[in-house]
Symmetry: C2
């Protein structure tokens, strides 16, 4: 592959259920040339996140689907390699939304400058969109109070791990749900969850209840599926449920689910326990709260209260397989593809 | 029946589905005598409300069930007929929670003094608990903005009619859902709903969509059941759903519902449209907001912006049949039982 060619991964076909490698296609195209007011950016790190599964389908969501033949979308840490924009110089580093490709143009909108000395890939994780999802969901919806119990699944992932740690910073008790001995141990020992529960254990529901003797006041919903069934009976009166992701459902968005229909009983419990369910996408809060977040999260990272683990895959060509693994929970920590070095 | 006997209606049996007259029993017992610090109150008006169905069953709800043989609970407008309490005198009128009976004792707690010249029964409707349910649900959860669309069912009932009128006071557009030509006309012509829709029309969903060309920003959920199915697809991004009642489900609280299971798709839409579902019972807000409510609602009633219709049944012995009719939507306006005159 030539340095003079852009490499990009496009959507080849809309997946049926779990995506397969054939749903993606690696293409080589000429490197685009920046026009007046534009910069050419080279991708250093590409973020892989569950929401991308939604963009591969046609089911209406909070964003437009990727077109067949279109470049897969995604957040990136990118380096300016050529600039015709007054605010940007060659060598500058920025968070961008360049997608699954090596080179992309930008007119500067949506770029956020990064300190080249900072941990760059973290700007896609704990110090970026997933971290902000945790921060904003707790600040605006979950609102944990000291002594309350906050539960979250995918507890070693970038959102879940930040939820647990920020909950503890608020004085709440954090209960992490994940699976596998290594992830459970990491959540407890490295991330500081007060209790951890294996959602694949046969007695998951009983384990979760034992881990939440005072019930659950905030359930940060980022997975859906069977975890919800264990959590729901434990929700305390006035519990808050920020809903930011439903990865367990992403592969089967349109299919009718077998009965019984749990909607009526769910609504009854929402009423009788004065529950709050609130869906959100972090973009709702980004403009007004990003400064607070970047200040707080940077400080917490510096003093060790906000930690994270990354799962870094080398090479754009390995992004599809890594993404498919993400949807199956095979990653361990924030999944990032490294394309180049700063 | 003697003036010297108390009459009261007790729960004879827990209903299976819709209550039947045999689930209630009228008893006569001695009129109780007030002790030191107590008052004897005579019931003038008894409020009948859907939540009482919940109290007849054993399914866990936000309040304790009525015991078998216990007096049915309920809000009342009562007159002090004997007082050994320093704050109350014979002839004083109060809102109380004396239940389905002619006489009751009180130590003064929970009594709210009424102006004897005011419309007394309205203190059980638009100017009481149902009106406050509408007020608090909109103020704290629905938060309608000018130009937004607020939809509510049971639109001629005490909660629904207040929701529509208060929504319009906030500058929102009010869409009322009910059934029957008289109720539809009353909602439109007397209560001022901007549009009305018959939920029993074969094309209800299409009618509702036509009545909400800009979608629905606030759906005040007080009925559940099939109305929800029509409303849900119309909810706009960031729509708010205060959930205060589910009358359509009250008769079948524990039964599994036939599939498909709509929970997953509901959660997905909560996420993709950033919806808020929030259950509440008006008592949550009563202590902190009752003064505001009584001030506002009294002023709105005086200037004609808050109107109501009452369905007054004479005689305690007719309360069970009237209550059974309420659960079937047979009443037209706030259902109140009149026991005596002030």
């Amino acid at each position: 592959m030539s340095e003079n060619l852009n490499q990009r991964i496009v959507l080849a076909a809309r997946p049926q259920g779990l995506p397969v490698p054939g749903d993606f296609r690696l293409e080589e195209t000429p490197v685009p040339q920046p026009g007046a007011g534009e910069v050419l950016m080279e991708t250093l790190f590409l973020s892989l996140d569950p929401y991308m599964r939604g963009r591969m389908g046609l089911v209406k969501s909070y964003a437009q689907p990727v077109a067949i033949g279109g470049v897969m979308v995604g957040g990136t840490v990118s380096k300016v390699v050529q600039s015709r924009h007054p605010d940007w110089q060659e060598g500058d580093i920025a968070v961008a939304y360049a997608g699954w490709q090596r080179f992309a143009l930008s007119d500067g909108s949506g770029l956020r400058r990064l300190d080249p000395a900072a941990p760059l890939s973290a700007a896609l994780g704990a110090l970026g969109m997933p971290g902000f999802t945790a921060y904003a969901g707790l600040r605006n919806i979950g609102k944990p109070k000291p002594g309350e119990t906050v539960a979250v699944a995918a507890a070693t992932g970038p959102v879940g791990s930040a939820v647990g740690q920020i909950a503890r910073i608020h004085g709440a008790r954090a209960v992490g749900i994940t699976t596998g001995a290594h992830k459970l141990a990491f959540a407890r020992d490295e991330l500081g969850f007060d209790a951890v529960v294996d959602h694949k254990a046969p007695d998951f529901t009983a384990q979760l209840a034992a881990a939440c003797p005072q019930g659950i006041d905030v359930y940060f919903e980022n997975v859906g599926g069977t975890v919800w069934d264990g959590v729901f009976p434990l929700l305390n009166p006035f519990a808050r449920v920020p809903v930011c992701g439903l990865i367990a459902q992403y592969n089967h968005p349109g299919e009718p689910q077998p009965g019984p229909d749990r909607l009526a009983v769910t609504m009854r419990e929402i009423l009788s326990r004065s529950l709050t369910l609130r869906g959100f996408v972090m973009t709702e809060f980004w403009d007004s709260q990003q400064d607070d977040f970047l200040r707080d999260a940077t400080a917490w990272a510096a003093d060790g209260r906000l930690r994270w683990r990354e799962d870094i895959v080398q090479g754009l060509e390995n992004a599809p397989e890594a993404f498919i693994g993400l949807l199956q929970g095979r990653n361990f920590g924030k999944l990032v593809v490294q394309l180049g070095a700063a």
